[in-house]
């Protein structure tokens, strides 16, 4: 009981940002009277002007009541608050942490006897403290709008809880980028790009059924909640009033908060590890597998309900959106492209995560040294230095399971009546990602970044060469398919064709043949690579054992 209590008090102490030395340091630096007054005046004048115009003009021109006009001010006010906290605030966090890194001040903080959680909290709330103050200056306008507009508190709570989580997520994104990118000049740029991609690029993938990216933003919550008081404004933006996830109907606010919170914790975990020891991997091995499994669950869960409506097929989604009458069928290429693209995404994401969790030789050596020092015969399974092969298999399993579930759901729908799945389709799909991913893992583990880079280069050249050959002449299409099939990137696409019975494209047979030949080639070379991999581990272990015994 005492132990539990001490853990609780320790956690409270770590999270108490108001007494955090780093937070206080930023309060002192950022809230000096001159910049505070200057920024405060700018914000008050602009907000006051926009608020007055939104409140007064509709009353005079459109004969709105005071209540209606006050409700209308909620949206521009919210946009100003977003600009202050999400954009200015995130920029402040990214540039601040980057500058600390460039100047070398981060190393001081690393040596300061504060827990990693205190360091996370201190920077997360400290760097954008001026932006929080500016946000606070807009609250009187919000209070006026709420009182005059008789806006229900439940709406306000929903909007601002979504907003708070989104703000923390974007600040954490910037913080993580600043900590992870070792070339500090790049960090600011990358963190801004990451935020732009998260906010403006990824949500557009909803046209391909990847709707869950939309819920990483505050938009669905805002449109849904504002729709309750300003129905005309929100109608064109958001048609759904709930989220379909597998067979469940979830509330938009709940789903959005959960998705954003999960991502926040993943980023927080990354920053935590980087504070603990800069040389640690971005994510631990078990966490990497869990994160990958989580992404697959969210992707598959949010895509499967879209299949019936056709929202997952670009041709159908665009026609649905524009209310164009159509015969509601898809062609063979689209039928193969949708699961193929999903497979490629599964493969690509797995490769990124496997790459980050695979240790360099240097790190593996350090792991062996530690193991010998503490009298253990092996490196711990979750240790960064441990071989990532087992975790690679776990990732492959999660990816293949998600992909097969999705493909099965597609073929169970009315869209795929013309085609049927081969009984062993899942074997080909699994092998199409498993073999290249194992190659990638072994290349990275044995030859480091250089090995991984060369392998990717070979795959890229094979893919491009195949495309060029196919473009030159139709007579080369067979050769082109074989060349392309050497690339790990192409295998997921062709595995879909190999698993589908019924012609999807004209040269289906050539594709199938090339795919199987490629699988055989990959499988035959695997023992050689595995031999190298074993030899590498034996050598490392032997060398380290020798050093440790000296």
């Amino acid at each position: 009981m005492k132990n539990g209590f001490s853990i609780f008090t320790s956690a409270v102490k770590d999270l108490a940002f108001w007494s955090n030395p780093i937070f206080i340091r930023y309060c002192r630096a950022k809230l000096r009277p001159r910049p505070l007054i200057a920024w405060g005046l700018i914000v008050l004048i602009l907000t006051g002007f926009i608020f007055s115009m939104t409140y007064l003009l509709p009353q005079r021109q459109q004969k709105m009541t005071q209540m209606e006009a006050a409700q209308l001010t909620l949206l521009p006010l919210f946009i100003i608050q977003c600009l202050l906290l999400m954009f200015k605030g995130s920029f402040t966090v990214a540039s601040g942490i980057t500058r600390e890194g460039m100047e070398g001040v981060l190393d001081y903080q690393r040596l300061a006897p504060l827990s990693p959680v205190q360091k996370i909290v201190g920077y997360l709330f400290g760097l954008p403290v001026l932006d929080y103050c500016l946000f606070a200056m807009t609250l009187p306008f919000l209070a006026f709008a709420v009182i005059k507009g008789q806006i229900p508190l439940s709406i306000l709570v929903n909007i601002y809880s979504g907003f708070a989580v989104a703000v923390l997520l974007y600040h954490m994104t910037a913080y993580m980028a600043g900590m992870v990118v070792t070339k500090r000049f790049l960090a600011g740029f990358i963190s801004q790009t990451l935020m732009f991609v998260l906010y403006f690029v990824l949500p557009n993938l909803k046209g391909l059924g990847y709707v869950f990216f939309e819920y990483l933003t505050v938009r669905p919550v805002v449109y849904h909640e504002i729709g309750k008081i300003l129905p005309d404004m929100a109608r064109s933006r958001m048609r759904l009033d709930h989220v379909d996830f597998f067979n469940f109907d979830l509330s938009i606010i709940g789903f959005s908060l959960v998705i954003q919170s999960l991502l926040f914790w993943v980023f927080a975990m990354v920053v935590y590890r980087k504070w603990r020891q800069e040389s640690l991997h971005i994510l631990g091995k078990h966490a990497t597998v869990i994160v990958y499994a989580g992404i697959m669950i969210v992707l598959v869960g949010s895509m499967i309900p879209l299949i019936d409506t056709g929202g997952i097929f670009p041709s159908q989604a665009s026609m649905n959106f524009l209310d164009i009458p159509h015969d509601r069928t898809i062609d063979g290429e689209e039928a193969a492209l949708i699961p193929g693209f999903f497979g490629f995404l599964t493969f690509g994401l797995a490769m990124v995560l496997i790459g980050q969790m695979t240790a360099s030789s240097d790190k593996q050596m350090k792991g062996w040294r530690r193991a010998y020092k503490y009298g253990k015969g092996r490196i711990g399974c979750g240790d960064d230095a441990y071989s990532s092969l087992l975790h690679t298999f776990a990732i492959i399993l999660c990816g293949a399971l998600g992909w097969c579930l999705f493909t099965q759901a597609l073929h169970d729908s009315h869209w795929y009546l013309r085609w049927s799945l081969e009984p062993h389709y899942w074997v080909w799909m699994t092998l199409s990602i498993a073999l290249p991913l194992v190659y990638f893992q072994m290349a990275k583990e044995v030859w480091g970044m250089r090995g991984a880079f060369i392998l990717n280069l070979i795959w890229l050249v094979a893919l491009f060469l195949g495309i060029v050959l196919a473009t030159i002449s139709d007579s080369f299409s067979g050769v082109a398919t074989y060349v392309m099939m050497l690339s790990g990137y192409a295998l997921p696409f062709f595995s879909v064709e190999a698993g589908i019975d019924g012609s999807t494209v004209d040269d289906n047979l050539v594709g199938k043949s090339a795919f199987f030949h490629s699988l055989i080639l990959y499988a035959c070379c695997l023992p050689i690579l595995f031999g190298k991999w074993r030899e590498h581990h034996r050598r490392l272990r032997g060398e380290t054992q020798e050093q440790s015994s000296q």
């Binding site: 780093i22 340091r25 002192r28 630096a29 070398g104 001040v105 006897p113 050596m365 040294r369």
Partner: protein
């Protein structure tokens, strides 16, 4: 040269090796530094000094080996080790948006001092580095030397048992250097172990009770400063001779160059330095001949080898454990 960690050593380094992929920055470093010692680590650029400092300050995990700070294994208890050491990097930065006292207060707070203790300790540390007058100045307005002193004050806030100073005198004026030396000596008297690296070698000669010579990641020798200097020069059958000239020295250099026993001749603006391998009688004959030649010299003296000569003479072959100290800095 294996060392077993002892409870009395403030810093105990055992078999530390640092690899950056295929490059080895430090090879099997064994060293013990005791409370009250001021240990100077010297070596040319790329010798492995900064990597050693990073390992000691827990910022870098060594590939092999163990490090104990005040008896604490830094791999097992890095947080505890950090509480006992103060570390100052080369060209140490300060946040430009804070006042001097605010910068120090942030760290004093992190070390768990209450408000009254913080105020008192900040004043004490500023006094130690002679910066009381700059308490309310913005860090941005400080000169390089003052910045170094502020960072030193920061390192002293928690009364560390071990102080790691990488180029602490960079940018300091002569008066500040003297003050720094006094501060370090005072800390040493209080039992603080100080590990210091500096390219200002005269500063090390005066300051360090012990030195270690690091080259290509290997510790060539270490011990009390005088002993190391003697060891590095003994067994060499030559003397270091410096002749000061009146005006141009080209004629003298040409004369010496043809003489037997003259090695590593360096002719500078108004002086000539070289190694002479002959007997004292030969040396007397040489002086006599120079005078007979009518060459205008103002002094002829045999000099002692110092740390600078040792550093300049470090053999550039990796793995070498013996080094002869040639005088020619161009080598």
């Amino acid at each position: 040269m294996s060392v077993t960690p002892t409870s009395t050593a403030a810093i105990s380094i055992k078999g530390v090796r640092v690899d950056y992929e295929s490059f080895t920055a430090v090879r099997s470093l064994d060293l013990e530094i005791y409370p009250g010692e001021v240990f100077g680590l010297i070596g040319p650029n790329g010798a492995g000094k900064t990597s050693t400092f990073k390992v000691l300050s827990t910022l870098l995990e060594p590939t092999y080996g163990e490090v104990y700070i005040d008896g604490i294994d830094i791999a097992e208890q890095p947080e505890e080790a950090r509480r006992r050491l103060g570390s100052m990097q080369d060209l140490a930065p300060v946040p430009t948006d804070l006042k001097v006292w605010e910068f120090l207060d942030c760290f004093a707070h992190a070390y768990g001092l209450n408000k009254a203790e913080r105020r008192q300790r900040i004043n004490e540390c500023l006094e130690m580095v002679d910066l009381v007058g700059k308490r309310d100045a913005m860090c941005q307005s400080l000169s390089r030397g003052m910045t170094q002193r502020v960072v030193l004050a920061k390192c002293l806030l928690h009364s560390p048992r071990v102080l790691l100073l990488d180029e602490p005198a960079s940018g300091m004026d002569p008066v500040s250097r003297v003050r720094l030396r006094d501060t370090i000596q005072e800390l040493s008297r209080k039992g603080v172990a100080v590990l210091i690296s500096s390219h200002i070698l005269t500063e090390l000669s005066n300051l360090c009770s012990h030195i270690g010579i690091l080259n290509h990641g290997e510790l060539l020798d270490h011990g009390p400063t005088r002993d190391v200097v003697q060891r590095m020069t003994k067994d060499h059958s030559f003397r270091l001779i410096q002749i000061k000239t009146l005006g141009a020295n080209a004629e003298l250099a040409a004369f010496l160059d043809e003489r037997e026993g003259v090695l590593d001749l360096v002719a500078e603006e108004s002086q000539v330095r070289f190694k002479f391998s002959g007997s004292p009688q030969d040396q007397a004959d040489l002086l006599k001949e120079i005078i007979q030649q009518g060459l205008a010299i103002t002094s002829f003296e045999e000099t002692e080898t110092n740390i600078e000569d040792i550093l300049l003479g470090l053999n550039t072959v990796p793995g070498s454990t013996q080094s002869s100290p040639p005088l020619n800095p161009a080598v």
